[in-house]
Every structure is written in structure tokens, then in C-alpha cells.
């Protein structure tokens, strides 16, 4: 076991450490939400991630996404694999350098326990939500995270027992309202925190 995991085990205890090692989390999109959420999950002790993204790192991403100057031009899934492995070198990562579409959405995360929506476009958020909000998996989505200020309005709405929606619901990213690191990270952190708290309680009567 690597040294980071030794520390995680000491911090979490054996039962929680083992739970987190068994849960597979799917992340749809590796931009501002997905790349940061993945990092939060790995730091928390999650070890099985399945990540989809079709894009390359650009300079404009560096204001909020978990990538670095020397990774510009690299595929995001490849760069994210490198960065996450610098936190925990023994992760079980499955990365797919492809788009999630209507044709593959239902199979993309069929083997995951948790699905995290981290897309940019609203139409893709809709597509993933239709596929997973009633799938029996824990499903976490986000809407309304652009701009800066009023970050307490980035709330968590529990739509169902296993469907949570993060964001203010209205702050759409645009040229006039660009996304910035603080609010994007708050939303990504809330997505990760819901996954973490659910995973640690999983199996008890009250959370099922």
C-alpha cells in the first residue's frame, strides 16, 4: 500500500477506507467541475473513477480547471490521469477520450455506483440527467455556477433520495458572465462532498 493510502487508512479507519475503495464513480466531463471534483474525490479516498471527456486543455481553462500550463494541448483525460496519479499513484482509472452522446450515454456509466454530471452545455446536462436521475445510482448534477460573488447561493437541492442538484440555477456561463475558479470549485467540492458522505454512510439503514 502506498504511503498516501496508509495515511488515508489511518484517517478514515478500515471500514470507510475499504468502502471508498470499492465504489466506482463516473464523471461526465473533465472541465471545471469534473477535473476538480475528481481531485477532491481522490484526496478523499475514492480509488475507482471512470472519466469521459473529448477536449484538449487550453490556456483559457487554467483559470479554473485542474490542469497546468505545460499541459495545454494535451487531451484532458490524459492530463487528468497524470494529475490524479500524482496524488495517488495506484488509482484504478478508466478514461475515455470521447463524447458522451445519446448513442452511448446509457452504457457509459452503467457499471458505476455514483454518476457525477460535469458537462458544460445544458443540453448535455439534460441528456445525462434523463439517463441517470432514476437509475438507482447516486446522481449528482450542477446548474448555475458562473460568475463570482454570492457563493452561498450555490445550494444543494435534493430532488430525490439519490438525485442532487448543485448551483444557483440561473448563472449561465457566457462571455458576459464567465466561470471563475472559486464558484466552480465550490460546486465541484459540493458534488464531491455529497458523493463522499453518501459513500461513507452507504449500507446503513437510513441511507441505503
Amino acid at each position: 500500500m502506498n504511503n498516501f493510502r496508509e495515511e488515508l487508512l489511518a484517517c478514515l479507519g478500515k471500514e470507510a477506507f475499504e468502502k471508498l475503495g470499492k465504489i466506482k464513480t463516473g464523471i461526465a466531463g473533465a472541465g471545471g467541475l469534473g477535473s476538480n471534483c475528481a481531485a477532491f474525490l481522490v484526496r478523499s479516498g475514492f480509488r475507482k473513477l471512470k472519466i469521459y471527456d473529448f477536449d484538449k486543455v487550453s490556456y483559457s481553462n487554467l483559470n479554473r480547471q485542474f490542469y497546468f500550463y505545460d499541459q495545454v494541448g494535451h487531451w484532458k483525460v490524459d492530463a487528468l490521469r497524470v494529475n490524479l496519479s500524482r496524488i495517488d499513484p495506484d488509482l484504478e482509472l478508466e478514461t475515455f477520450n470521447e463524447r458522451v452522446t445519446n448513442a452511448n450515454v446509457s452504457g457509459a456509466f452503467a457499471d458505476c455506483d455514483i454518476v457525477i454530471e460535469a458537462f458544460d452545455r445544458a443540453e448535455n446536462k439534460k441528456m445525462l440527467t434523463e439517463a441517470y436521475m432514476n437509475s438507482g445510482k447516486l446522481y449528482i448534477s450542477a446548474s448555475g455556477i458562473a460568475g463570482c460573488g454570492d457563493s452561498d447561493n450555490i445550494t444543494i437541492k435534493k430532488i430525490h433520495d439519490k438525485f442532487f442538484l448543485i448551483g444557483d440555477g440561473v448563472s449561465e456561463a457566457s462571455a458576459a458572465l464567465p466561470p471563475f475558479a472559486p464558484r466552480v470549485n465550490i460546486a465541484a467540492a459540493k458534488e464531491a462532498d455529497i458523493a463522499l458522505s453518501w459513500a461513507l454512510r452507504k449500507g446503513t439503514a437510513q441511507h441505503g
Partner: protein, 59 residues
């Protein structure tokens, strides 16, 4: 029954009345996700439960 001028309304009409963008919303009707193709022919009734999740871009 949700009525408009005495007529029960469809999900499509409800979406138009609320000025929602059909491309950016998810509709769950009585626990079932409904694709846009059936909104026109699905009428809303009094005892129905409807959940509409609306998305804006950014991530």
C-alpha cells in the same frame, strides 16, 4: 386537473406557459422520465406529480 380556460393542458403547453426551453429541461411525470416526443400527448391531472429540472450551461 390543471386547466387553462376549462381545458386540461399537456406537458408541452405547460412548458410553453412557463417559458421553459424544451432543450434544457428534464420532465419527470409520476416518477417516469418523459422524452419530449410524448409531452404533447401527456395531459396533466390533479393528482399527478411533476418534477421539472431546468439547466443552464457552465461547467
Amino acid at each position: 386537473m390543471i386547466e387553462l380556460d376549462g381545458t386540461a393542458i399537456s406537458i408541452s403547453e405547460f412548458v410553453r406557459l412557463k417559458e421553459l426551453n424544451p432543450e434544457k429541461i428534464v420532465v419527470e411525470h409520476n416518477g417516469e422520465i418523459l422524452g419530449g416526443e410524448v409531452w404533447e400527448n401527456t395531459l396533466l391531472r390533479d393528482s399527478d406529480s411533476i418534477v421539472i429540472v431546468s439547466f443552464v450551461g457552465g461547467g
